[in-house]
Structures are given as structure tokens and as C-alpha cells.
């Protein structure tokens, strides 16, 4: 398999892309697990976030997060 791809040049460029993708995935996963008020079943959101790269975490952040209740706020502040 003949390839002209210069991996040494390409890899450092791919790292920031991977950090954004992985960062959003981890952030969304932690938010689903920690948040008390999630719209819909948590397990469905976990699957969506893990399976659909970029789109899954964005969909969760825009549609899945419920409002933080005053109780949650006071717990996070304490």
C-alpha cells in the first residue's frame, strides 16, 4: 500500500482535534452522570454521547440538560 501521507507532520496536527472531541465527550458524560435533572433517560443520553462523535455531546448540551434546581445549586455551593 503506497501512501504519501506524512505521519510525522500529521500527528501533531491531529492532537488538538482529538482533544476537542475527547474533551466534549468526557465533559458531556460527566454532566449526564452528575446532573439530577436530565430530559429523558440518562442511559439513552450516555449512549448518544458515546456513539455519535461531536454531534452526541452537542445534542445533549442543547436538548438533554434540565434546569438546575435551587436544591442542586445549594448543594454545589456547600
Amino acid at each position: 500500500m503506497n501512501s504519501d501521507i506524512n505521519l510525522a507532520k500529521l500527528l501533531p496536527l491531529l492532537i488538538p482535534v482529538a482533544i476537542i472531541e475527547f474533551g466534549l465527550l468526557v465533559w458531556a458524560l460527566l454532566d449526564v452522570i452528575r446532573r439530577k435533572n436530565v430530559k429523558g433517560p440518562k442511559i439513552v443520553w450516555i449512549i448518544v454521547v458515546v456513539v455519535f462523535e461531536i454531534i452526541g455531546p452537542i445534542a445533549y448540551f442543547l436538548f438533554g440538560r434540565g434546569e438546575e434546581s435551587a436544591e442542586d445549586d445549594s448543594e454545589s455551593n456547600s
Binding site: M1, N2, S3, D4, I5, L10, L13, L14, P16, V17, I20, E21, G23, L24, I54, I58, F61, L62, R65
Partner: protein
């Protein structure tokens, strides 16, 4: 316009509290970094994967392909995200009763609408700057050159296109009780106006011409200027704000 600055501060805080700034910036950055890589390496990837003996003539990608490819991606994803972010801005606040509480105070409805539009435009401005810098930087590294001035103008025109999308979505958000319906109608109108932007005469005044003009500026290609579209899109956005104000004025909150 009483209470504008108070509203703007509240809305900007909301953009950070709900992490909208980070989410939108992450999407623009992802495409800003990813598009030049994909543009540069797609021919090599196809060659490496093997074509089963079939000869496929792939044109050598250029820096202009990378910059235009990024804008094309963002016209799809950026517009979709703009609609998703703005569709609940007013409808949700009316539904939950927040708008009634806020507007019962001595503040103007125009200030309420403009603060929302400006705060959301700020979120997209941050994303546009980060995504644009990432795309230009990666294009320069991978291709050795990148038309900075043309790309800057292209991003300014795309920024105006996004503000137009936010304005239209805010109008539908004030009109509809359901935020999904508001988003759907806004998206349908934006797609319709973009689709007919290539028609002769009327097309010169439609939002899609902003993107076409931006592409021509990146390519340094000759063609008519897009100023008529810039003026008409600014006017349509202003009209959207006025209609949102008129719609809120009529509403029992």
C-alpha cells in the same frame, strides 16, 4: 431603551452559565482544525485505500479549497447550531414565565430582544474568531499559503449571515409557543432564502450571496460585488427585530 445594559449583562452571564460559548466555540474549532486536514489528505487517503484498479483523477487540493471548505461546513453546522441556540431564547422564557417576571419590571421589550440578539451574536463572534484562526493557521501550515484578507472578509460576511439567522430565529421564537416549531420554521425560511439565492436579479439581494461573495473573495475571482446582499440582509435582520418587538407587544405574558 431602558434596562438594555442590565439585560445584556444578564444574557452574557447566561451564555457562560449554560456553557453555550464553550460549546459553540468547540464546534467551530473542531471544523476549523479538521477541514484543512481533510482537504489536504483526502486524495492521499483515497490513494492509500486503493481504488481497485480504477483510475480516479483527483485535482490537487489548494489552500482556497480548504478555506472555502471550512465556510461550507460552517454554513451547514453553524447555521443549524445558531437556530438550535436561539429557538428557545424567547419561547422558553414565555413558557416558563421568566419573560413575564423580567418584563414586569420597568424595562423595554426592545432592550430585552436586542440584549438577547447581541449576547448570542457575541457567542458566535468568539466561535468565528477561534474557528477562523484555527482554519487559517492549519491551512497555512499544510498548504504553505492562505489568503488572509479574503478569508477575513469571508468570515465577516459569514458573521453577518449568522446574525441574520439568529434574528430570524428570535422572531419565530417570539411567535410560537413551542421552541421546536420556532426552530423548524426559522430553519425552513433560512434554507428557502439560501436556495433561491442563485436566481437572477432577486438573488443579488438574498443571504446566500454573502457566502458566494465570500468564496469569490477567497478565490480572488472576478464577479459582481455582494453589497446589495449585505444591505438587504442587514435590513431583514432589523425587520426581524422590529417584528419580534411587535409580536411581544401584542402577547399576553
Amino acid at each position: 431603551m431602558s434596562g438594555f445594559w442590565v439585560f445584556l449583562r444578564k444574557e452574557l452571564k447566561e451564555q457562560f452559565k449554560t456553557s453555550k460559548v464553550i460549546i459553540v466555540a468547540a464546534v467551530f474549532l473542531f471544523f476549523g482544525l479538521g477541514t484543512p486536514i481533510l482537504t489536504k489528505y483526502t486524495p492521499e487517503l483515497i490513494k492509500a485505500a486503493g481504488t481497485g484498479g480504477i483510475t480516479i483523477e483527483m485535482p490537487i487540493p489548494t489552500s482556497a479549497d480548504s478555506l472555502i471548505g471550512y465556510t461550507s461546513n460552517m454554513v451547514q453546522f453553524g447555521v443549524l447550531i445558531a437556530v438550535l441556540v436561539a429557538m428557545g431564547a424567547i419561547a422558553k422564557e414565555i413558557e416558563t414565565g421568566t419573560a413575564a417576571i423580567v418584563l414586569s419590571k420597568p424595562v423595554g421589550r426592545l432592550a430585552f430582544i436586542l440584549a438577547k440578539l447581541k449576547a448570542e451574536s457575541f457567542t458566535f463572534l468568539v466561535a468565528l474568531v477561534l474557528g477562523g484562526l484555527a482554519c487559517w493557521g492549519y491551512t497555512f501550515i499544510l498548504f504553505g499559503d492562505a489568503n488572509a484578507l479574503g478569508f477575513l472578509y469571508q468570515n465577516l460576511l459569514f458573521g453577518l449571515f449568522i446574525v441574520f439567522c439568529l434574528g430570524v430565529t428570535l422572531y419565530f421564537s417570539s411567535l410560537m409557543k413551542n421552541q421546536l416549531a420556532a426552530g423548524g420554521l426559522a430553519l425552513a425560511l433560512i434554507i428557502f432564502l439560501s436556495a433561491i439565492s442563485n436566481l437572477p436579479w432577486i438573488g443579488r439581494y438574498l443571504p446566500g450571496q454573502l457566502i458566494n461573495w465570500g468564496n469569490r473573495l477567497v478565490l480572488k475571482a472576478p464577479g459582481s460585488s455582494g453589497w446589495p446582499a449585505v444591505i438587504s440582509v442587514a435590513l431583514i435582520t432589523g425587520l426581524s427585530v422590529y417584528l419580534t418587538w411587535a409580536s411581544l407587544k401584542k402577547k399576553e405574558l
